[in-house]
């Protein structure tokens, strides 16, 4: 392994601009003549829009225009869409209600845009917005997913009776029910997977510009997938033909899924920019983000896990109600179905599984993928059930897991997933040792001597990422393929540019992708640059989410590098006057086998462009190759996280006193970056388990609407982490990469809640296990002060 190749903890090239404040985030960009846009949003969760009076506002200083939903509708653009069609048990397609970019007849959640003010400055736009009078007829709202489909719940969309989007299922109900009936032991549990607000630190933003001379539209946008945004806005919303729309995602300050989706704001900015003939810029304020960024999770689940007399799991039955919010966001249908139920086998051999998911509309912010997207929910179900089962059976939780692990691969689960390769016991054993599991008893007694409770919890998770084989995705209802693209451009002077369809919003691609090239071509890493995020520069790519940039994005680069190497060999053969079959490429040099005749990569690159020394009728000049890579399977990272927690019974406060993560991510390109992904994912999972709570009151008001009330994890809420890896190579892609971006967020909530429930001695507590919640449980049980 070289200092800059695969497996090296190369320090990041992109850091230079970030540590000096010279990044280019969307709000940093301004265009001449630009106007500011301010969105007027419904303060009601459910209300008919009777009248909007913008007369006074329109005449205020600096105001260019005030537009309502009715005016937007006059231009007959398409609605925002959900691009993944899921079908109900009865074969009917999901009930996707219309989602216009500006609400016209009815506002369906607090935050739903009803009008916009465009002015020279944001201050002028906000001053004018205060003068816009919106006459609402307030309607009753429903926010509880458990009540949305019930009798008496107000109907949100005509297209969806009983506010039901779909009733979906996966697995064999009869075999599962029979296994449960005949079980020696059945564990039964109900839990809530709490709604989260993603809160990337950079608020969403959009800057749209129209060039009247060419008819071209340009959009700068905080997107994780600019080409997908371009496709949806062009083809589905009909804003412009695809080739007349350029989408640029510059530096993006975190995404976590929330910046995948196509939102109303960028659509309205484009529309307004063309209408007014000047650039229009929008940046969310944080409290605006809270009511517009897609939220995550929000499941109510009942589960049953059946065991035989030997402690082997024989069945798992799950029913989930999934809250998708007021409208179906771009990816929303797939998260509680194909990204959830297919992971319910966990790391275990479970012969019979049946999962039903009812998805409902409520008068809340739309819900969609958020770091882990369905897999944290699945892991929470499986890992809480297994841990509780161990307690009920009187078996050590590590032993019960070990007894039920899948050991032989490939393994076909009973929920469609085909696990390719893994060694779950290896990560478990390593984690137990690193954590000093054996010493827990003594640490617990020490805690008790100080009046504290202490608990330990496991999460041996598996997840499916590296999305996804295109044909399979299509069969499951996805409207697009999930391959990735790359172009490797070797320049005459030997430097290399990678144009990738992936996008980086914190993952360090400018470094890791360059490491791959440096490793393969022997080019110094500072001679390699990565270009992404601009639909004018880079061919169509599907973007970054689902931990796919390594497994899918880098595989596309590897394929393109194969082609570059093959062509370079042909050219080198001519330059070295040898047969192509005798050319060996190693460490950046082409050598004639068995001789000392060689040419450096740079020489061959120059030779390719000078094109003097080879027959251009047989070999085209230049050295530039592209590839599209379609995965042949999902990848299946897996591992073991152990959380140890100490609880002060007087205050209910939980302190995480130890965290050990041992993950199998397959091939690791940059260990430092991979560890950073685990740290960040675990932090978000801890946030879900201990701190973050998205609270709606019964009128649909978002009570936790800013950082004053929504508790973001801070440095003193978290410990340092012990992070390590085991490795089984992924057999389905050329680099053997499984992906690492979401694993921490997937494993952590279950590990934390297993630890807390272990400490307090009851399962009757939901996330977030805030000090108040823990104290209340202990108080009820008579164990608090």
């Amino acid at each position: 392994m070289s200092a800059t190749g695969i497996g090296a903890s190369v320090r990041r090239k992109e850091d230079q601009r970030f540590i000096t404040g010279k990044g280019h985030y969307t709000d940093d960009i301004s265009r001449p003549g630009q106007a500011a846009i301010y969105f007027i949003r419904s303060p009601h969760a459910h209300a008919r829009i009777k009248k909007i009076d913008a007369k006074a506002a329109s005449t205020m200083p600096g105001v260019a225009a005030v537009f309502t939903g009715a005016q937007f509708a006059e231009d007959k653009l398409g609605n925002l869409i959900c691009g993944w069609t899921v079908h109900s048990k009865d074969g009917s397609p999901m009930k996707m209600a219309p989602h216009p970019a500006i609400a016209a007849g009815k506002a369906n959640h607090v935050g739903d845009a009803v009008a916009v003010v465009i002015a020279d400055t944001l201050a002028q736009a906000k001053d004018a917005a205060e003068k816009v009078v919106v006459d609402y007829e307030v309607l009753p709202a429903v926010v509880d997913p458990g009540k949305a489909a019930g009798k008496g719940a107000p109907l949100i969309h005509e297209a969806a009776p009983n506010n039901t989007i779909y009733n979906w299922h996966l697995g064999d109900p009869d075999a599962t029910n029979t296994a449960i009936k005949n079980a020696k032991h059945v564990t039964r549990l109900e839990f809530i997977n709490n709604r989260l607000v993603p809160n990337a630190m950079e608020p969403r933003a959009a800057l749209a510009e129209y060039d009247a001379g060419s008819g071209n539209l340009t959009l700068w946008n905080t997107s994780q997938n600019p080409h997908v945004a371009r496709l949806v806005i062009a083809a589905f919303i009909g804003m412009a033909p695809e080739h007349k729309l350029r989408v640029i995602a510059p530096d993006v300050g975190g995404g976590f899924g929330s910046k995948i989706f196509i939102y109303p704001e960028e659509v309205v900015c484009l529309w307004a920019a063309r209408k007014l003939g000047r650039p229009v810029k929008w940046t969310a304020e944080r409290s605006e983000s809270f009511v517009t960024d897609a939220h995550g999770r929000d499941h109510i689940t009942k589960a049953q896990m059946a065991f035989d007399a030997d402690g082997k799991i024989t069945a798992l039955k799950v029913h989930t109600t999934a809250n998708l919010g007021a409208y179906m966001s771009t990816f929303s249908s797939a998260v509680p179905t194909f990204l959830y139920a297919t992971l319910l086998s966990g790391q275990y051999e479970i012969p019979h599984i049946y999962c039903e998911v009812d998805a409902v509309y409520t008068n809340t912010v739309p819900v969609d993928a958020y770091r882990g997207a369905g897999r944290p929910e699945a892991t929470f179900v499986v890992e809480r059930m297994v841990e509780v089962s161990a307690r009920e059976l009187g078996v050590d939780p590590a032993d019960l897991r070990r007894k039920n692990f899948v050991r032989s691969f490939p393994y076909q689960t009973s929920v469609a997933s085909l696990y390719d390769a893994g060694d779950y016991n290896a990560s478990l054993q390593k984690a137990l040792a690193l954590h000093d599991y054996k010493g827990f008893g003594k640490r617990k007694r020490d805690s008790e001597r100080h009046g504290k409770l202490r608990g330990i919890g496991f999460a041996t998770y598996i997840e499916a990422c590296g999305v996804a084989p295109s044909a399979l995705a299509g069969q499951l209802g996805c409207g697009v393929g999930l391959w990735e693209s790359a172009e490797v451009r070797v320049n005459p002077t030997g430097s290399v540019e990678i144009l990738t369809g992936s996008h980086a919003h914190g993952q360090g691609h400018e470094t890791t992708f360059a490491q791959l090239v440096a490793d393969r071509l022997g080019v110094p890493i500072d001679q390699v640059s990565v270009v992404h995020g601009d639909t004018d520069k880079v061919q169509f790519g599907m973007g970054t989410y689902g931990s796919r940039s390594g497994a899918v994005g880098m595989s596309a680069i590897a394929k393109a590098l194969d082609k570059v190497e093959a062509k370079a060999k042909k050219i080198a053969a001519h330059l070295l006057e040898a047969a192509e079959a005798d050319i060996v490429f190693k460490d950046g040099k082409f050598t004639v086998a068995g001789t000392d005749k060689s040419a450096a990569f740079g020489e061959v690159a120059l030779g390719a462009y000078v094109a003097h020394k080879f027959p251009t009728s047989e070999i085209e000049p230049g050295l530039k190759e592209g590839a599209f890579y379609d995965p042949t399977n999902f990848t299946f990272p897996a591992g073991c996280h152990i959380c140890e927690v100490e609880i002060d019974p007087d205050t209910g406060e939980s302190t995480i006193v130890g965290w050990t993560a041992v993950d199998d991510f397959g091939t690791v390109i940059n260990p430092m970056i991979v560890e950073g992904q685990v740290h960040g994912g675990v932090a978000q999972g801890v946030g879900q388990a201990l701190l973050e709570h998205t609270v709606y009151d019964d009128k649909g008001q978002l009570v936790t609407g800013s950082y004053m009330d929504y508790a973001m994890p801070r440095a003193d809420n978290l410990p340092s982490f012990k992070v390590n890896t085991t490795m089984t190579k992924c057999p389905s892609n050329p680099l053997g990469i499984k992906g690492c971006g979401e694993a921490g967020a997937i494993a952590a909530p279950a590990a934390v809640m297993n630890a807390i429930t272990n400490a307090i001695g009851t399962e009757a507590i939901n996330m977030p296990a805030t000090p108040a919640a823990v104290w209340a449980v202990l108080h009820k049980a008579g164990r608090a002060a």
């Binding site: 320090r11 990041r12 992109e14 850091d15 230079q16 601009r17 970030f18 540590i19 000096t20 404040g21 010279k22 990044g23 280019h24 985030y25 709000d27 940093d28 201050a123 809160n199 990337a200 630190m201 950079e202 608020p203 530096d251 993006v252 300050g253 975190g254 976590f256 940046t283 304020e285 944080r286 409290s287 919003h505 914190g506 993952q507 360090g508 430092m672 970056i673 560890e675 950073g676 740290h679 960040g680 994912g681 675990v682 932090a683 978000q684 800013s706 950082y707 004053m708 973001m712 994890p713 801070r714 440095a715 003193d716 978290l718 340092s720 982490f721 921490g744």
Partner: protein, 164 residues
């Protein structure tokens, strides 16, 4: 509109501003110094931290007009045209950033922690001192390492004296 005169990164600045203008808006919009970021609207996230007269201040929570005669240092001024500040180097060396959005505020806060708490910072102190800076990407593990290392690498003149 009202006038304000101050020094920003060593250069004199005069601006005519709407009285509601925050320091962070003055920096980002009037002076095109976009390294100071806005991450929230309740003064909690710390992405906007700069130094005013040598002390860390959240630029979203002070009006530009309050700073007549003040000396403001933003992330762009920390290294200026010269070599990187040891704290900046430490963030790169220890992978203390991912998306980079919270980073300028983190670095400015970190330099101020050293000024107040000295160069020998333990983990607990750093974590507590970072309560006013939120990061969504890193989980703080490497930020803590970076700040400890950056503090050690800073010159004695930048740090609190033992007697303070």
């Amino acid at each position: 509109m009202a006038a304000v005169s101050l020094t920003v990164n060593g250069k004199p600045v005069t601006a005519d501003v709407d009285p509601r203008t925050l320091l962070v808006q003055l920096l980002r919009e009037h002076l095109r110094l976009t390294g100071t970021h806005v991450g929230c609207d309740t003064s909690q996230c710390g992405a906007c931290v700069v130094h005013v007269d040598g002390k860390a201040v959240k630029a979203c929570t002070v009006l530009a007009l309050q700073l007549d005669g003040a000396n403001v240092l933003s992330i762009e001024g920390l290294a200026g045209d010269g070599p990187l500040h040891p704290m900046q180097e430490a963030f790169r060396e220890h992978h203390g950033l991912q998306c980079g959005y919270c980073t300028p505020g983190m670095i400015m806060t970190a330099v101020d922690i050293v000024r107040r708490k000295g160069r020998d910072l333990d983990e607990r102190t750093i974590r507590e001192e970072l309560e006013g800076n939120i990061c969504r990407c890193t989980g703080y593990h490497n930020i803590v390492k970076a700040i400890a290392a950056g503090a050690r690498a800073m010159p004695a003149s930048a740090a609190a004296k033992a007697t303070e």
